[in-house]
Symmetry: C2
Subunit: 467 residues, 2 copies
């Protein structure tokens, strides 16, 4: 029943196959979501491997040669499809099968690894840890491949797929893999589906990403826990000292007060600023959805500029001393915090870490010993807008949604974009289908079924446009 690949009727048949297969696609996604592949937690080692095996098997069904490759960390999936041959464009699809921890588990309305289909204001939605980040988004191109395979027996492009298992912990083993496999990964462009839309009716390409440095700071004082009655007033208290230092992190204007931190930050291009102004971003509604009313962060900057084009310093965790029920009159021997920075273009992660270390040392009281671990480090990215791939993706999205896609910024980092550029010299096409209210990294994470469906159709169209 196959038809020729590069024709209008081929695309129509592919889209029909995608539509007909939607329920089966959702069932496959549920199977993948049921695997608790939490990469940061060593207890889920085997689950990560199971998720990789699942993805490889799915790709094989779509005509790919696929294998699970070991790394020094979690395994990754490498799959290839020759398409119509060597003259066709070569696309490298990237996604990740690992997910964030589900905690706090008590806030989930259904178990995080028992996917549920729940009716919402935009129709049915899929609720599970990883529903949108990134298993559901990966499913958009997996199902597009399947639709092409079913309708035409092949793909209209050469395709390589890399699905890693360490995105949520900073992808420590991805770049070495890309470097080692440089030859077979030498694609024309990377296609990444791990970003969002402007809203459920308005598609987007993301062309600007913040980078990130993620650190853990430990301040050590006395060599043991102390009774605060016996030692209080004489001994250094590490929690007092750590909170005092962290209290200096921002100035009264909401700027980060680490000397040197803004040295390499460029002012926002006025054309970009105007484009974003036109989006009519409603920050009150954005914050209202999470129970807040007042923007935090730098004063005298627009909401989208603060979210997409200004760096941040957020404490993601803090702990020390007695944290159980009731009271314990202890001065603990140490206290720790996880502190991450979102970076903008030209900020150098290593330089930021050096600035942080100097800042901590400058404010540390006598006897405090400070240790800094760096868990993740990646620069910010700006994607060039004038490539044939960006044009093809714009067209595919415009045809699917009936409106021009927005060129968005994104506050989060997608470090793989930088790795792909560095290791393979290729740029990335960031076409994603997440919505603002998808509860990414939070309890009750969800993915709209309509986003899944139109994501699949958009990928099918992009394949046709590039084939």
């Amino acid at each position: 029943m196959s038809v020729a690949a590069n024709s209008k009727s081929a695309l129509d048949a592919v889209l029909a196959a995608a539509d007909a297969g939607l329920e089966a696609t959702r069932e496959r996604l549920f199977a993948l979501l049921s695997i608790p592949s939490v990469s940061t937690d060593p207890a889920h080692e085997a689950d990560c491997r199971r998720a990789a095996e699942w993805v490889a098997a799915d790709l094989r069904e779509c005509g790919f040669s696929a294998e699970v490759r070991d790394t020094k960390g979690k395994p990754l999936v490498l799959a290839q499809h020759a398409g119509p041959g060597d003259k066709a464009p070569h696309l490298l699809y990237y996604g990740h099968y690992d997910v964030q921890p589900p905690d706090p588990v008590s806030l989930w309305k259904s178990p995080p690894f028992s996917p549920a289909l729940v009716e919402g204001p935009n129709g049915p939605r899929i609720v599970a840890r990883g529903a949108v980040d990134d298993k559901g988004q990966v499913m958009t191109f997996l199902a597009a491949f399947r639709a092409w395979h079913e309708a035409t027996g092949s793909l209209p492009v050469r395709a390589t797929v890399v699905i890693e298992g360490e995105e949520e912990i900073g992808s420590p083993h991805l770049e070495p893999f890309l470097v080692a496999e440089q030859k077979q990964l030498a694609a024309d462009v990377a296609v990444i589906t791990d970003t969002g839309m402007w809203n459920i009716d308005t598609p987007a390409l993301t062309t600007r990403l913040r980078g990130m440095v993620y650190t853990e700071i430990t301040l050590k004082g006395p060599d043991r826990d102390l009774h605060s009655g016996i030692f209080g007033g004489s001994a250094l208290n590490p929690i007092n000292a750590l909170t005092r230092i962290l209290g200096y992190l921002h100035d009264a204007e909401g700027r980060i007060a680490i000397p040197g931190f803004y040295d390499d930050v460029r002012p926002l291009d006025p054309a970009i600023a105007a484009q974003w102004q036109g989006l009519g971003f409603d920050e009150s509604a954005f914050l209202g959805a999470i129970g807040l009313q007042h923007p935090a962060g730098e004063h005298h900057r627009s909401g989208l500029e603060r979210l997409w084009a200004r760096p941040t310093a957020d404490l993601n965790g803090i702990w020390g001393g007695y944290t159980g029920h009731g009271s314990k009159t202890v001065i603990p021997s140490e206290a720790s915090a996880k502190l991450s920075f979102r970076l903008v273009p030209d900020q150098d992660p290593e330089k930021i870490v050096a600035c942080l270390k100097r800042f901590l040392a400058a404010h540390a009281p006598a006897d405090a010993r400070i240790e800094v671990k760096v868990f993740a480090s990646s620069g910010a990215i700006e994607v060039p807008l004038d490539t044939p791939f960006v044009c093809a993706a714009s067209t595919a999205l415009a045809e699917e949604y009936g409106r021009t896609p927005v060129m968005m910024g994104c506050g989060g980092s997608v470090p793989v974009v930088e790795s792909l550029s560095r290791a393979l010299g290729i740029s990335s096409l960031l076409m994603g289908f997440a919505l603002e209210d998808d509860q990414v990294h939070s309890p009750n994470e969800k993915f709209e079924q309509r986003c899944l469906e139109q994501g699949i159709r958009s990928h099918a169209r992009l394949l046709a446009a590039l084939g």
Copy 2:
């Protein structure tokens, strides 16, 4: 084999009995230390009752009528001995059978509730949670009663014993009990053994105690955990906000920067200051023993003044966000800290809580909701020095140790002293045998066997002196 109670030969016989029974005393103490009576942890409810029953049974063996009395919290032990009759002085002995949690358990060299006898520089020492605070110290007077009972068949005074099970959580049900049982508890003085010596050769009475207010602060922001990439730069981060507020807690001179905090603090009496100066307190050695070199706290104050006569603000615990291994890019919905204040005479705990609440509100950013719980609250104490009981205790200690006892201050609170004064109108004699390096509230808590032995003998002598 009994001899008359109020004679020199009676005391000699009692001291001989105490010495002969030392090994049996230690075995009884080990049995009590084996019961993990952690009052702050609901999982140890039954252990607390077991400890109370154990103490009551021990007192019965020494001729007391003893019972375990229920309260709305942990049970307490009430025991009475008529001694030589109504004309004899009536002493009220107080102690507590509950202990602090043993965490961090990994730092113990032997299991916290498997008492060990370990050789140290001052001879054998008893290592266990509660070894000195307060089970070992309670054993000093229990064994003194036993020695009097064995040697004379009675006690030379009327004695009432109250051993509670909630000292480590602020004694919430002790004062109601004292008020309810006012009549049978109407003693001439209270004897409390929960304080320290100046050093192992130099006995002490403690005549000045700091009070305490123990609070838990929770700062709430967004109504759920957020992805720091999506919301960072716009949403209030509760850990950022909490550390920023806590960073204001002290000024550059180490003073507590809460407006109104020092309003009622009196300057230290110059005579007391001179007495303490004469003790030659070596703060470098005091801090050196815990791995520190530089005094923290208020500048331009002596070490003993900071420890015994100045208030403090110590963070005893802090938590929020992701505290597991690796990284999670979350902005949590809330963050919490445990903050306690050591108070000095004339500071009113309720007024301090009110000052704290105003301070927190003044520094809270927009959208932050702050909750304050108060777990414990007691004023500071100064004991009058000119009573016959203080004189008798001084004499007993001087005879046992061959040197005059020091009139010390104590940085920790013993809230029962205030409760006894308020509920029964009696003052307290604070005669204790703990040493500075006993690791109170820390891993590897210990009690020197020599302190146990001389503590028993001192209590035996005090009974003779008052009989």
